[in-house]
Symmetry: C2
Subunit: 240 residues, 2 copies
């Protein structure tokens, strides 16, 4: 696999400038952040941070998908977070984390030295308030996910997952089409995400395909052919 070239982007041109932790910052504040930032890239599958490892940086995810995973002694694993562009990695005020962070796809991060970032955080309400919002949003997502893990059937879990992909990849300008979407993960990773086995994931995806709810062009690309049926299958009341 070829090394991924380091890139540099000015904050003005940054694709997550308006949503990341820095989104509320003034030009002056951005300039301060710019001084302590460095870009780093990771190939799909590469570890970004290990559980328990001393944590000397925090970061915004600029491009790609990463995941947070917890592992039990006997090897059972559960994904506990999915990071998309503009999500924040790392925890100010704590020098280690309680899970592994891994690149799901190729990933680019905008990294900040942790101590320098914490100093800035304590002096910059625009930064700390945005970080709080991001944390509260993640908490909301975690709670939906807990309902899914605790109470949904395998079919509902798969439907909820696919529906989430559809919702978040929905471009406002192609709302009515059935855009081709990508599964950013293997069956095994989806299973870890949903608290299932990979065989069950495969069977349930096949079932949705046979029912005409989704259709696959290849293993990683599909489109939603019956959005209403998909929403019904999630078990949520979003379709009402």
């Amino acid at each position: 696999m070829p090394p991924i070239p380091k890139i540099h982007v000015t904050c003005d041109a940054c694709p997550i400038r308006h949503r990341a932790v820095c989104s509320r910052c003034s030009d002056d504040e951005i300039a301060l952040l710019d001084k302590i930032k460095t870009y780093r890239s990771f190939a799909a599958g590469e570890p970004i941070l290990w559980r328990g490892e001393p944590l000397d940086m925090v970061a915004s995810l600029v491009k790609g998908v990463a995941n947070l995973t917890k592992t039990m002694e006997d090897g059972r694993t559960q994904m506990v977070g999915l990071l998309l562009p503009s999500d924040f990695i790392g925890r100010p005020g704590r020098s280690e984390i309680a899970f592994d962070v891994t690149a799901t796809t190729d990933v680019t991060l905008c990294c900040f030295d942790r101590l320098a970032f914490e100093k800035l955080l304590s002096e910059t309400p625009n930064l700390s308030q945005r970080l709080m919002e991001l944390a509260l949003d993640e908490l909301d997502a975690a709670r939906d996910w807990m309902l899914l893990l605790g109470r949904k059937t395998a079919r509902e879990k798969i439907a909820s997952f696919v529906e989430m992909l559809a919702r978040r990849s929905q471009q406002p300008d192609i709302l009515e089409a059935n855009p081709v979407m990508q599964l950013p993960m293997t069956r095994d990773q989806i299973a870890n995400f949903l608290g299932l086995t990979l065989e069950t994931v495969s069977r349930q995806l096949t079932a949705l395909k046979k029912e005409g709810v989704i259709s696959f062009s290849d293993r990683r690309h599909f489109e939603v052919t019956n959005l209403r049926a998909l929403k019904m299958a999630t078990g949520d009341d979003t379709f009402i």
Copy 2:
């Protein structure tokens, strides 16, 4: 059930003064909070906030236990948060919440008008930074919980739950004793907490009792008689 009397506490005497959202505030800042605070009490089982209801207050939990619960259309429910003294209720910047908040035991809240609180939040780094910490702590707890819901067996779930109760009720000065502890919930509520049925909760608690890991004085009070065995049974590696 007799009405629960309203109480008033000066912030100096408040039992959660050093841990709640206000813990970092200066005397001046506390004085501002004091002006917009009111105490409210709820009896065990009473609803505190309903999902979707317009949210005009936020609050710190002063005394008792409350829970956050999500319910599906067909009645399946999953607890998604357990609130203990000093925990924060409500979400600044959002006028409604996506779950119900219910008093698990009798509860006392220190309530703030939401808009006034938000204004104060934007002007008071000591407040917003503490709220961020509370949110990040809750996020850590939510992630442990996700591993439990997604991958642990019924036995491991029950052991983890009991171990958590033991850990958090542990007074530093009686570390070596086996203090009598209280189950703050019914079997049904524990089941909703752990993603199980109440029958399974009952069976697993009975199993731990028969094995001599815990012993009950009555249905709501027990002590841990073999802490090491309990920790082994959680499936976590905390005992290593």
